[in-house]
Amino acid sequence: MRAAPELETAGSAAIVLAGVDKWFKTQDEPVHALAPINLSVASGELVVLLGPSGCGKTTILRIVGGLIQPSKGEVRVLGRELWVNGGRKSEAASGLGIVFQDANLFPWLSVEQNIMLPLELKGTPRAERHDRARELIKLVGIAGFEKRWPRELSGGMRQRAAIARALSYDPEVLLMDEPFGALDAMTRDQMNLELQRIWMETGKTILLVTHSINEAVFLADRVVLLSPRPGRIDTVAEVGFERPRSLDVQSAPEFQRIVTTLRHRLVEIS
C-alpha cells in the first residue's frame, strides 16, 4: 500500500487523468467535487474506484466517459485527449464502453436489438451486426433470451445484456459505474465471477466504481480508495491474487487483511 501516487507516464496507459478538478455549480456556493486527481490505468488493467458516497467516484467515471466535463485538467483515453476546447472528442470517446448502475436498456428494443444498437448507429452492415450480437450473447451468457423485451429479464440478465451492448463495438476500455449495485448478494457474486471471466477473455481495460469493499478487492488489480469533500485519492492497494480467482479467495488471510485495512481507512476518512 502507498500514499497518493504522482502521475505515472507509462506509454501503455489506457486512461490518464492529470490534475483533473471538478466544481459543481449550485444555487448557493459552488461545490468542490474533485480535488486535482492524478490517476493512470494501464492497458489491460482492472482498477476499482472505492469510496463512501459523495467521494466523487462516479464523477471521475463520468468525466472519463465523456459525460461531464472537468473544470480543469487533462483526460487522455488511449493516448488521445478527450476534452479539447470544451468539446468532447468522439475519436477518443469511441474507445470507451460504459455500463451504468441501471442497465439502461431501451425498453422498446429486444435484448438483441439493444446489443446491436451501437453498431447500428455506427453503420455496421446488418449481417455483421447479427454475428457480433450472437457472439456477445454467448459471451455474457444470455443465450435464448435475445428476442425478449428487457422488462422480461431479471436484473442480473439485464446487466449482462448491458455489458454485451458496451462491448459490441469492441472498445478498448470498459467503464462500469456500480454495475452490480442493484443486484442481490448471490447474483452479485455470480456477476463478479462472470465479469472476471469476460475481462480475461477479452483483455479489456476496466475502470469500475463500487462501494463494496469485498467486490473491490475480489475484482481489482488495484483498488483506489477515495476520500470525500472534495474527492481525492486517499490510498491505492495492490491486489496480487492469481487469476482466475474463485469466490474462495475471499477467505484467504491476505484478502481479509486488505479488506480490513481498507475498511479502517474508510471509517477514518468518511
Binding site: G65, N104, F106
Partner: protein, 271 residues
Amino acid sequence: MTDISAPQLARRNGKTSLPWISTPLLAAILVFSWHMYVTQSHVSAFIMPAPYAVWKAWLDLLASPRAWGHAETTIYETLVGFLWGLFIGVGLGVLIGRIRWLEMTLNPFIVAIQVVPKVAFVPLFVVWFGFGITSKVIVSAVLAFFPILTNTVLGVKSVESGHRDVMTSLNASRFAVFWRLELPSSLPYILTGMEVGIVLAIIGAIVGEYLGGNSGLGYLLISKMNAFETDGLFAVMIHMTILGFAFYFAVGLLRRLTIPWHQSSGLDLGG
C-alpha cells in the same frame, strides 16, 4: 419475471370474464326499465320514444344512403382534423419539449388557450372558413391538438437521463437521439394524447355541424330535432356513439401495434 402459477391464472381469467356477463346484463336491465317507463307513464313520444321505436329508426338510418353520406362527412372531418392536430401537436410538442426558450415563450399562450373553452371559437371559424367542411375540420384539429401537444411535451421531457447517457456515450447524432430515443420513448405519452384527441376530434366535428352547413351527423341530428323526430334523434346518437367507439378502438389497436413493449399495451407476454 412474469411467471404466473395456475391458481393465479384461473383467478385472473375469472376476473376478466366478469364484464362479459355484467355489461350486457346491465344494458338489458337499462333498456327494459326504459321500456317499462315509456309504456307505464304514457309520456309523449316526442319527449321519450320507446326503445323499439328507436331501434326501428336506427334500422331506417342504416338503410338510408343519405344517412350514410352524413356519416361519411363526419368521419372525413374527424379523421382529417385529427391528423392535422396530430402532426402539428407532435411536431410542436417535440420542439417545445427540447428547446427551453421556446417553451418559456409559448407556455403562457398555450395555458391561456387551454383555459378558453375552445368551442367558443366555432362561430368564428364558421365566419372565417364558411359553412363547408373546412370549418369543421379546423374545429376538430384545434380540439385534438391540445392534449396531443401537452402529452408530447411531457413525453419528450420524460426521457430517462440514463438513456440519454447511453446515447451520449455512443456518440449518437442529434437525429439519432431523436429517432432512436426521444420518439420511441415518448410514444406511450403521444398515444395517450391521441386517445383523448380522437374523442375530442369527433366532438369538434359534430359541434361544428350543429352550427352550420348541410351535411354530417351533427346536421342530421339537428334536422331530426327540428322535425320532432325524437326517435330519429336517438338513432343518430347511436350512430355517433358507434363512431366514437370505432375511432377510440382504432387508436387502442394502434397502441398495441406500435408499443407492444409497453405495460399499457396489456399484452400478457408470459414468462
